[in-house]
């Protein structure tokens, strides 16, 4: 309960700062519009205002402060503008509409989930191979670790174009980017997890004359679950980033990344911010969903956190 009030205070402080930041960010645009509408502005012309600091302008034109939060195309939209845009483009619009964020979100989400499934599936398989084969461990594992330190997302534009040139387009190229971004964290986490049983436990199974497969199903796999879920959470966030970035280079028409790009081309700041928040909500929902699955699964396995 005490942490809840603390969290709410911090969130409220962030929103307050955001509103405060809107004033100096948007003041010039507001004053230009006010001047055109015939209001009295100090200093009077846009050229004089250009050389003045934002805070000086705010001090000189305190009447304009309220207008900085309701501008049409602000440099920094106020929180309620983003919230209204989010509401309008999700609840008010039909899902089939091209302006509905649910439509765009679903395009990105399907690529994310497909890629995540491929990436984690292959990742777990490779991890099983690594744990049981010393050659694979020694050859592949160092590369899997190194791959975490390099920005492999830079491959994204190339993958899209190459797959397009051999006739693969639509969902799959984005999913492949998502897949390889979630692949390596899962491999590294799963190897750690499958190795987590200590010698005593492995020896105990040996005294039971358990086969390797039995040891895997009854000991290694169950004890790897906490590690697996930790890396799944990283993996799904990476998958979403991959799907969004995968939408950038081809000028895709659908998806949250496409919304971001279109917004930045046409200066639709409110649209950018609402797409950004939709992406954030999606990421949070996916991570939370994995958290729930983890809790239920580990609870049924008898693990207490």
């Amino acid at each position: 309960m005490k942490s809840l009030t603390a969290i709410l205070t911090v969130v409220a402080a962030i929103i307050g700062l955001w509103y405060a930041a809107c004033v100096p960010m948007n003041i010039k645009g507001v004053l230009d519009a006010a001047e055109r509408a015939g209001a009295e502005v100090t200093p009077a012309t846009a050229r004089e205002r250009r050389d003045m600091g934002e805070f000086g302008l705010v001090a000189g034109n305190s009447f304009a402060i309220a207008d900085t939060w309701v501008q049409d195309r602000p440099r920094l939209p106020a929180p309620h503008q983003v919230a209204v845009e989010l509401w309008n483009t999700t609840v008010e619009k039909k899902i089939t509409s091209k302006r509905s964020l649910i439509y765009h979100g679903q395009v990105t989400l399907s690529a994310t989930l497909l890629g995540f499934a491929i990436g984690t599936g292959l990742g777990i398989l490779l991890a099983v191979g690594i744990v049981h084969s010393k050659v694979m461990d020694m050859s592949v594992m160092p590369w899997a670790i190194v791959s975490q330190t390099i920005p492999i997302i830079a491959l994204a534009p190339m993958i899209i174009v190459v797959l397009y040139s051999i006739g693969v387009q639509g969902l799959l190229p984005k999913a492949i980017i998502s897949a390889y971004l979630s692949f390596f964290p899962v491999v590294v986490g799963m190897v750690k997890g499958l190795r987590s049983p200590d010698h005593m436990q492995l020896d105990l199974l040996k005294t039971y004359n358990a086969s390797t497969a039995q040891g895997f199903w009854k000991l290694r796999l169950p004890s790897s679950m906490p590690y697996l879920f930790a890396s799944l959470k990283i993996g799904i966030a990476a998958s979403l980033v991959g799907a969004i970035v995968g939408e950038l280079p081809t000028g895709a028409v659908a998806g949250l990344g496409a919304r971001l790009l279109a917004g930045s081309y046409y200066g639709q700041t409110v649209q950018i911010w609402s797409a950004l928040f939709a992406a954030a909500l999606l990421a949070a929902a996916l991570v939370a969903l994995l958290g729930v699955i983890e809790r239920v699964l580990l609870g049924r396995m008898g693990v207490r956190s």
Partner: protein, 281 residues
């Protein structure tokens, strides 16, 4: 066809050598531990080269390693200019500003239990969000040059470093803090002599995660607009021209820069946290 057969032979030979090495009595020596992944990497490169040549794969789908290497050697000046623009100006300056700000914020937050309770969950939450998405906004605010890339990097690295530092500063236990109190140590004395050193492994964990994020942020931000130099710019225009050898050369630069950056942080970590169990090995 011969090349394809050769590729299969090379693959089997590489695997055979590696399995001999891995199962030999010397498999725990440092030399073998470096040799095995080295041979594996070399095998992959050879198989790649042979398959691309043997199957006549078009340059616009997958260039052979030798073509990429030739392109890399040929366009060193361009690659160097891109490296300076994206990595040094964009990623590095943003990294320093972002990590510095996060460390200072963490120290400030740490003084208040209330703030820490509030900020830690929020920070953890934000650290999991797709922050690269702020790139179009920041490019709009700070212009096309490296300043906007540095700004994206600042936003990306801030929260992981903040969360790790705040968690690290809680690492000391009551006994240790009591001991400092019996020495009549001031807040800053016990901070610099006890809590900061104890937090270092956590801080470096955050700093290491942030190295990759910094490069990702700087490169992806260039997809939203950049001057006519920079790795992200070069990648997106070269992809447009189907000059995939150039794209691979840039990816090679990104890989080298990323591992060097990460390796540098590991090196600093090793010298600063030599006392930690994980470093004594």
């Amino acid at each position: 066809m011969i090349m394809v057969v050769l590729a299969v032979i090379v693959w089997c030979a590489g695997w055979w050598v590696n399995s001999r090495l891995a199962n030999s009595p010397q498999s725990q020596t440092r030399l073998v531990q470096l040799l095995v992944p080295g041979i594996f990497g070399l095998t992959i490169l050879l198989v790649w080269e042979l398959l691309v040549r043997g199957l006549d794969v078009s340059l616009v789908i997958l260039p052979a390693p030798s073509v990429i290497a030739a392109r890399f050697a040929e366009s060193l000046p361009i690659l160097w200019a891109d490296f300076m623009q994206t990595i040094v100006k964009g990623a590095l300056s943003g990294y320093v500003i972002g990590c510095g700000a996060a460390l200072l914020t963490a120290v400030a937050v740490d003084r208040s239990d209330f703030l820490r309770r509030g900020l830690l969950p929020v920070g953890n939450f934000v650290a999991a969000l797709p922050i690269v998405g702020t790139a179009p906004i920041l490019v709009m605010w700070f212009g096309f040059d490296w300043q906007s890339k540095a700004a994206v990097v600042v936003v990306m690295v801030f929260f992981p470093v903040l969360v790790n530092t705040v968690a690290g500063l809680r690492e000391t236990d009551q006994m240790q803090r009591d001991l400092m109190q019996t020495y009549a140590a001031s807040y800053w004395q016990s901070f610099f002599k006890l809590r900061l050193p104890a937090a270092l492994p956590f801080i470096f964990n955050g700093l290491k995660i942030a190295t990759t994020l910094a490069l990702v942020g700087a490169i992806v931000a260039e997809f939203f607009g950049s001057p006519t130099v920079g790795m992200g710019f070069r990648i997106s225009t070269s992809v447009g021209q189907l000059a995939l050898d150039m794209v691979w050369a840039e990816i090679l630069v990104a890989a080298l820069a990323g591992s060097a950056f990460y390796g540098g942080m590991v090196l600093i970590e090793k010298t600063l946290t030599f006392w930690h169990p994980s470093q004594r090995g």
